[in-house]
């Protein structure tokens, strides 16, 4: 099984600062591994950290303590903290934080999905049946999400024995029509709309251009119906 990229885009939270986007996405060349990450606003350099996490996942999707150590090392190689101002040093020591959502098609036809934090995967099995990971309800977005940090001491949960069972779901022999991956503001809007009987998921599934996505996001933000944050959406078809 492999995924076919039908659409992907990242929109900035603030059009005045398009280079400040702190979401990242990465897709392996063979289309079997895809990752998105949402960098936290209150972070020293969550833009770089989100990119390192997605690139690292696509290079090696087996996330564990050692994997994270290597990612942190790559982050540390970006700069020499002794060259930073006092405020940058303080912010650097506080760390950078980001979510990670990784999707992987295995050679035996199974699909696994890792989620740390509040990015969302929606698996459309049939026209009448879909599931999502790791949240199912809009209210779950009100909880403080778990984040991967550049401060190793804050990542102990990754080394715990229940990490895989808490953060990875498997789709085994289930039909799969397509997959949506999205960051939290869009995901919260999507689940809330569905709960209110509005077919948001099918609307997102149909998006094929950045303009369509931007139009939807602008409209919902203007109605204060969607939190203002970076927005990432990936639409994936499923093939063999």
């Amino acid at each position: 099984m492999r995924f076919q990229l039908e659409f992907s885009a990242i929109l900035p939270k603030d059009d005045l600062y398009p280079l400040s986007v702190e979401d990242a996405l990465a897709i392996s060349e063979d289309g079997t591994i895809i990752a998105i990450s949402d960098g936290a606003s209150e972070s020293f350099d969550s833009q770089s950290w989100a990119r390192i996490l997605t690139d690292s996942y696509v290079a090696n999707p087996n996330v564990n303590g050692e994997w994270l150590e290597k990612a942190i090392q790559r982050y540390k190689e970006l700069r020499d903290p002794s060259q930073l101002s006092w405020s940058q040093q303080a912010a650097y020591e506080r760390g950078s934080f980001a979510t990670l959502l990784g999707l992987r098609a295995h050679t035996d036809g199974q699909v696994s999905c890792l989620s740390v934090g509040d990015c969302l995967a929606i698996f459309v099995h049939t026209s009448a049946h879909h599931t999502s990971w790791r949240y199912s309800w809009a209210r779950e977005f009100q909880e403080r999400p778990m984040l991967l940090s550049t401060q190793a001491g804050l990542n102990e949960f990754v080394c715990q024995s229940d990490f895989d069972s808490r953060h990875i779901t498997w789709l085994i022999r289930e039909p799969l029509s397509h997959v949506l991956l999205m960051s939290d503001a869009l995901a919260e809007w999507c689940l809330r709309s569905e709960e209110e009987g509005i077919p948001a998921r099918s609307r997102l599934s149909a998006i094929r251009s950045q303009e369509e996505l931007a139009s939807l996001v602008d409209h919902e933000r203007a109605r204060r119906n969607m939190r203002v944050d970076d927005v990432t959406l990936i639409n994936l078809g499923v093939g063999n």
Partner: protein
């Protein structure tokens, strides 16, 4: 819904610190060797540093907040900032970052990760100096704050409203501040009224009371007055305080009585937790 505006560089919020610098602030701060004035200025400098750290990214400090400090004592209220920051009450946080009076090296004890304690030197910027002199012109300070806040809200109509953190140990010597505080809390943006938090560092030998919901348990009329002057806490601040393990009810107000050093830090941390930055 009030207090939900997202805070961004295009739509910042403001924090204004009102600090009692009257003569009684030279008394010892409970549980420390420092005077109240020294302890309060340390905590304010540390809070400013924390706010700056929250706004600082690899490319620099983003202007999510405007910051002001008004000190009052010796029969006048005055800008608590000096030098380049003293021209106006509010300054963008990047300007505050760029203009400390000095940056001190201070020792900090830290866990060495192997069961021991090591001492590291950390940078401690100072913007606000301790002072303790004369009477307590609280009404003058509230009036000066109101003037600055009206102007700020006029130019930021859709922003998360400003938060005032007021720290005092004594009774106003230039009139009854309650009505002025009521008027101050009516200044607003489209996202809600100005939030007024009061911290009473009393000299009474009494237990600290954090974020009470009523004045019945407060020990004296002055604590009760400051309680009435304080805003009700918005939901997200209640949630944040509860997340820190503090028992805060839905009717709680932004008031702390007889805070010790740790509680004073906590009070300023909770009070400056405006909604999400973006």
């Amino acid at each position: 819904m009030p207090y939900t505006a997202e805070i961004s560089r295009s739509s910042p919020t403001a924090f204004l610190f009102l600090v009692d610098q009257s003569g009684s602030m030279s008394d010892k701060f409970s549980g420390t060797e420092k005077s109240k004035a020294e302890q309060v200025s340390d905590v304010i400098n540390r809070t400013l540093m924390t706010l700056i750290t929250r706004c600082t990214k690899s490319e620099g400090t983003r202007n999510y907040f405007d910051i002001g400090v008004i000190g009052y004592g010796n029969d006048q209220a005055m800008n608590g900032f000096h030098g380049a920051l003293s021209a106006s009450v509010f300054n963008p946080i990047s300007e505050v970052e760029a203009n400390p009076l000095r940056v001190e090296d201070r020792e900090k004890k830290m866990d060495d990760g192997a069961g021991g304690i090591i001492t590291n030197t950390v940078k401690f910027p100072v913007w606000f100096e301790p002072k303790a002199n004369g009477g307590t012109p609280m009404c003058a300070a509230l009036t000066q704050a109101a003037e600055a806040l009206v102007a700020w809200c006029d130019t930021h109509p859709d922003s998360y409203p400003p938060t005032i953190m007021h720290i005092t140990d004594g009774e106003s010597t230039d009139g009854d501040p309650e009505e002025l505080a009521n008027q101050l809390r009516q200044i607003r943006t489209n996202d809600g009224e100005v939030l007024l938090f009061n911290c009473h560092i009393s000299s009474l030998n009494a237990n600290a009371i954090q974020f009470p919901a009523g004045e019945a348990g407060l020990p004296d009329s002055y604590a009760k007055l400051l309680f009435r002057m304080s805003s009700r806490l918005p939901d997200h601040i209640i949630k944040y305080a509860q997340g820190k393990g503090i028992a805060v009810g839905m009717e709680a107000r932004g008031f702390t009585f007889n805070a010790e050093a740790v509680e004073l830090v906590e009070f300023l941390d909770i009070g400056t937790r405006a909604s999400q930055l973006r």
